[in-house]
Symmetry: C2
């Protein structure tokens, strides 16, 4: 093998046996994959939603080393079908109701294709002006759709940026807040900084604090209660802050959530911002889940109070407001300007260089995707689409209400229903287990959910809220229609029947 490889060094010239971007070959193979995916969507309903493979399944089907010689695309697609698809959990299945569904769309897909095809790396304006300018424009579009205060928009001195993920968005914001504060109180106080959230706040915030070097002991997951619908109360926040200040700590950052991951609970923005303001705390609004539905006027009230927040995140997008000299705080914290990136446009300060608004240097032309989605569907259809999810969730909630063995555990705010088999039903059948009624109920609901998911017919996930194990039914997959919701309910009932008569 050694001599073969040594020989290669001499044998290849500019003859161009490899044309990795030949337009006609691109066309041919591209069409093949489009058809492959169209057929996948046509059949996705038939696959078990949650993958049924065992850990390590793929190692048995795939060689241990990369091939030396090229392989044809047809063969690779065959392997995708036979080896990869069985190992997928089908997030695009209409019977997918787990976590929060990732609602794919044709327009989104096409936007990704264009972005991948142009393959520009838009770290600064110069490296591809359209990438930066379109992003600023669609961020303002989105801000207007959400009726954000003017100071959040570029046109009002603020501005938005598309981040790769939630976690990056939070981390950037927190670093900006941290550095602003450390400049005031001195770097040696970094161990005194405190970050606030509730026990329902997304784990990303704790991870971001951890990465940013905040003392792990200074992350406050303030307890919520059923009485307050698992929202963080202003009173609880104030008490925690006061006690921290008494201990010589420095309150830094509050994350308020509109639509928590466990139960889609809503933190009351207005009162929380009032408290935060008093203590000079940066308020970041995490509207990752429920932000989108706020483009419908009837849901916009959930964002009331945002005018006093410092930053807002919504899916992969984020805005900064002007008041606290933002986004300047962000740029200050994240800016780098090595020689090889210097250019006239940046020096005139007429342009945004998005590399300074994020962790990473390089970035995809992300706004193409959002631009295509907004134009292909228009505000009208996007609202209809979101409302149809809420309606389907309402329908599911109604079905639960008609079966007295079940209960909805927390009030439904959006398109996610948290429910379980009620304790009473179980008492009769599982009374022999020596455990508290609550433990028994939790155990039984967990068993029911696992049986449902193992069937492959539908896929839901769970959470534990205030000690109660709940099944989460999250509507949002793009192919889901009301008939799938009705089918899902039948699947739940059938498995409950089986378990309850065991």
């Amino acid at each position: 093998m050694g001599s073969l490889q040594d020989q290669e060094i001499f044998e290849n010239g500019f003859s161009g046996t490899i044309k990795p971007l030949d337009p006609e070959e691109f066309r041919r193979q591209g069409h093949l994959v489009i058809d492959f995916l169209a057929d996948y969507y046509k059949n996705v309903e038939k696959y078990p939603v949650r993958s049924q493979v065992e850990p390590g399944y793929l190692k048995k089907r795939v060689p241990g080393s990369a091939p030396y010689d090229p392989e044809p695309i047809e063969e690779i697609l065959c392997d995708v079908k036979n080896d990869i698809i069985p190992g997928l959990t089908h997030w695009q299945s209409p019977n997918y109701f787990a976590y929060f569904p990732s609602s794919g769309s044709i327009a989104g897909f096409l936007g990704e294709m264009l972005s991948t095809g142009f393959n520009v790396v838009g770290f600064n304006w110069m490296s591809s002006p359209a990438a930066t300018e379109l992003e600023s424009i669609v961020m303002d579009w989105l801000g207007k759709m959400l009726k954000l205060p003017k100071e959040f928009l570029f046109s009002g001195g603020g501005g938005g940026v598309m981040q790769g993920t939630t976690c990056e968005a939070i981390l950037c914001t927190m670093v900006a807040a941290r550095d602003q504060m450390l400049k005031k109180i001195g770097r040696d106080k970094i161990n005194k900084l405190v970050v606030y959230g509730s026990d329902q706040t997304h784990s990303a915030i704790q991870k971001a604090a951890q990465i940013a070097g905040i003392n792990p002991e200074n992350f406050r997951a303030i307890a919520t209660t059923k009485a307050n619908a698992f929202g963080l109360t202003a009173q609880a926040l104030r008490e925690t802050i006061k006690s921290d200040i008494e201990s010589g700590l420095v309150p830094l950052f509050l994350c308020a959530t509109i639509g928590t991951t466990s139960s889609t609970a809503v933190d009351p923005l207005g009162p929380l911002c009032d408290v935060a303001k008093e203590y000079g705390i940066w308020v970041h609004v995490d509207a990752a889940y429920a932000g989108s539905v706020c483009i419908c006027p009837e849901y916009r009230h959930f964002l009331n109070g945002v005018e006093n927040a410092d930053s807002l995140r919504f899916n992969a997008h984020k805005w900064f407001r002007r008041r606290r000299l933002l986004p300047q705080a962000l740029v200050k914290a994240l800016s780098t300007y090595p020689e090889y990136l210097r250019n006239k446009a940046s020096e005139t300060k007429q342009v945004v260089d998005y590399k300074d608004w994020q962790i990473t240097l390089s970035r995809r032309f992300r706004s193409l995707k959002l631009w295509l989605v907004l134009r292909s569907y228009g505000v009208a259809n996007l609202r209809k689409f979101l409302r149809s999810h809420v309606k389907m969730a309402k329908n599911f909630e109604g079905l639960i209400g008609m079966d007295k063995r079940f209960e909805v555990v927390v009030p439904r705010n959006f398109a996610t229903v948290c429910f379980r088999i009620s304790p009473i039903e179980i008492g009769g059948n599982y009374g022999q287990i020596v455990a508290s009624e609550e433990e028994t109920t939790n155990y039984f609901n967990a068993k029911l959910l696992e049986a449902i998911n193992e069937s492959g017919k539908i896929y839901m996930t769970h959470s534990v809220i205030g000690g109660v194990y709940v099944m989460r039914f999250a509507v949002g997959a793009s192919l889901t229609e009301n008939r799938h919701v009705n089918f899902a309910w039948k699947v739940v009932q059938e498995h409950a029947n089986q378990l309850l008569t065991m």
Copy 2:
């Protein structure tokens, strides 16, 4: 408008006027975009490489708000052609020689399509087993192609992960190293930690240190010299470390680079690892640029010494080695396990949950892309492809050598040539400017580069190395053939002729 919107709330049902993922519509629109992109590649050579638009050009062509009603894809593609393409800097042009080119390929594109199409969010094994397992498999494939020591592979107790970007990769590694050290010396010492690189190290490392809460005063960009080909010497590293320890600081992390961004210089891994080992410093190898070419046996020697490093990054991929209980240090630093993510597979510890190997929770099915690339081209063609880039750069270097007005400023290691008009040539024509000869030369070369880029015929970027302004000619765009290199040289000469006779 208010009443129109209020009415909507009542008018839509489950009638499904919106089918955002209809398979046949997906097929139709998908084919349209494939043809659009194939035509783009066919014509990309004709566009000015660097975009010629002025800041703010797009605002004048695009409405200020999102459309209320849907728009057809045909119209949107028209706008992409008329409004977006002029604002692109064409990274896929065969005449693109700027920064480091992003070499797109058909296989890579198809992999992205499949990943986007399946749209799974593979944060843990359960959420899509194939995504995790394929990633582990291809990371081992790649590790073997690079002949990494066994401890870097999953099969040897280490393991690899695909990160979104360079900066994320470095940040993760640094946080793991930081927390390991703080556990030993106490959190209150965070301001004592020191991070080492050279003055040629990528700015991402300084930014990562900044985000991770390392005191900005404790980032050492150790000076390099032309005498050492701009590589970091073990002696300089040792002296800096010693002086830091004398000042009561704690050496933490060294980034050694194989192929720096400015001039593709190589830090000598072996001697640097020896010094680092002595002081218990984490060694991270940044082989982002030159790592790939090390799959060719004749370049592998640049990685010699990697057996004593702790982590290695190479493009968007990263390996951790076993010796220092890695990747456990990483998982320890980045792990979160909220209730809604709990699942049987994770609890058995039989599986990798990649969310704990990175900053973000969610992640794309990234390995599909790499898998398709490795299989479509095979090791054989990938080597040929990389060698053809080096050959073309050599050719360019040869052309420079034949024109005595020019000089190659630093020795070429890979496929990037750093060159300039020599001081002597300029003396005669720009002598009237009151400045040192070096300043005059730099000024003149900057002027030449700007004139070349403004022509739109080719695009190069610059750097300043050891005070010398250089033009960087980086071969790597997938469509580049030797004729483009010859053409580029003609463009350089023509512009030089013009300026030198002005």
